[in-house]
Amino acid sequence: MRHPLTENYRLFIFYALFWTVIGIINFVLLVLWYNVPFSYSLLDTSTTYILYPLLGSSIWYSIRYNSLEEVSILRLILFHLTAASILCGIWVYISYAIYKPFIGHDTNYLTNSLPSKVFLGYIMYIIFLVFFYAVNYYQSLKEKIKKESEYKTLIREAELQALKSQINPHFLFNSLNSISSLTVSNPEKAQEMVINLSTFMRYSLMHNEKEMVPFSREFENIKLYLSIEKVRFGKKLNAEFEIDTHCLDAEIPNMILQPLFENAIKYGVYETTEQVTIKTTCQCEGNVLEITIVNDFDSNSMKRKGEGIGLRNIRKRMEIIYNQPDLMKITDHKTSFEVQLIIPQKPTLS
């Protein structure tokens, strides 16, 4: 167990300075006010305010192994009484050993000052005790706060990791099947699709490293994703964009949009035989970026069961990142489905 005075350099300076100042005041008072002889004043001051703080620093160990919470009060009192007595004894013994050579013949002084010296020893013990308990409390509090925040970051990271969308295997294998088909009928297009798929996968793997990306990058990735799906679905999938170009620099959590489009395709395009339009509008107003994705869907073929896992994960992820609820709004318009994301932006310096 390391001692706070050797560990914490500033605390040591403070400790030394404090007792030096008290010592000087004591010395001046004794000499000038009480007219105590110079040598006696010096002896008294040095034993009380130099020797005691040196010995007293060991009290740290007595409190470190007797935490207030774990030990019963009776044991605590008994322990400290014993410790105080031992320390007091040692202190008085050494003090007098120092006194001896200087005052030799004046044994009366020693006998008369003994009770007050012992009393002072106990009082000093209590002062040190309180001081070290305070230091200990502060240290463990600081450690606890640090640990807690570390723990929180860890949980947050783990949660975010879990919430980030994984590439849907269904999407992957169907795309590979499309490529397999294109290698026969249109090798150039097959190559293009392999490259698009690789770029998309690379982007989605990158999100382990970076949390926030410029909207322009996320948008490029969405266009890539839709172009891959377009190869599969042909004219059944129709994507429209209305993007305010001012928004392109806005910051956005990466891969937050892809699951929304995946959802739109799963429930919109996949479940119908007609053409489905996925319309994306994007606006910046004040300090928020607003992204709205609307897709048609066939209400006859299925009953929407509210929020699926995909949407719930995005809601949760937004909540963790921005520490704000309701950043995702879902509206079911019976024949179309609307998801709106509100992405807070850092205030820009203008």
């Binding site: 295997p169 269904h170 169907n174 099947n177 499309s178 088909s181 599969r232 035989t273 073929s301 299925m302």
Partner: protein, 252 residues
Amino acid sequence: MSEKLQTLIIEDEELARNLLRSYLKDQPDIEVIGECENGFDGVKTINEKKPDLVFLDIQMPKITGFEMIELLDFKPKIIFTTAYDQYALKAFELNAIDYLLKPFSKERMIAAIEKVKQRIQNNEDIDEKLEELTNFRPGEEFIDRVVVKDRHKINIITVDQIRYIESLDDYVMIYTHDGRHMKQKTMKFFETNLDPKNFIRIHRSYIVQVDNIAEIQQYEKESYIVILKDKDKTKLKVSKTGYKKIKEILHF
């Protein structure tokens, strides 16, 4: 076998269809007689053309490959194709049914066709297996829709439209708000696959949607009937165990 297998492709994605067609083009025993883009067309074409062999995709718009099988009057040999569906795969494994995982090689496809040919030669009947397949439900999930065919029209009934279900020997009659539909399924299937919070089996012959119950009347000593919320105030018999279940769910 002297005659070629009359083969139908049912697959919603154009590229996937193209690939299958190009694989099948030079197969001496196969003659592709048609292609369908969705399950509705699939049911119609199978019932009309009665093909020997069907390549059937499982995930399709409107109705799935499994739901399609329930609607067939004529059951051809089927080779299932799927990209990724762990539940479907489990169903296949359980019933030892051959399937192709997309993307698949030509060799793999030929092997599947060979198996089918053997089945035809041995006169093996896998109708029962197919029936099992359609009854297979993954995990704890309840069904959210039922697909039925009335004469030539296919209807998709979401479960919230079901008022009650009546047993008719090998069939059930599903009563909805706008009519009734016959379906070849067992009461047991609906009892286990409809959410028991919303549907109660009140009698050997009836499953009722909870919200549709208007009142419960004592009919004789220890015998009850429920009256439904409809114009005709339909009355249905309740068995002893059925009465207990109603009591449990409606808390009275």
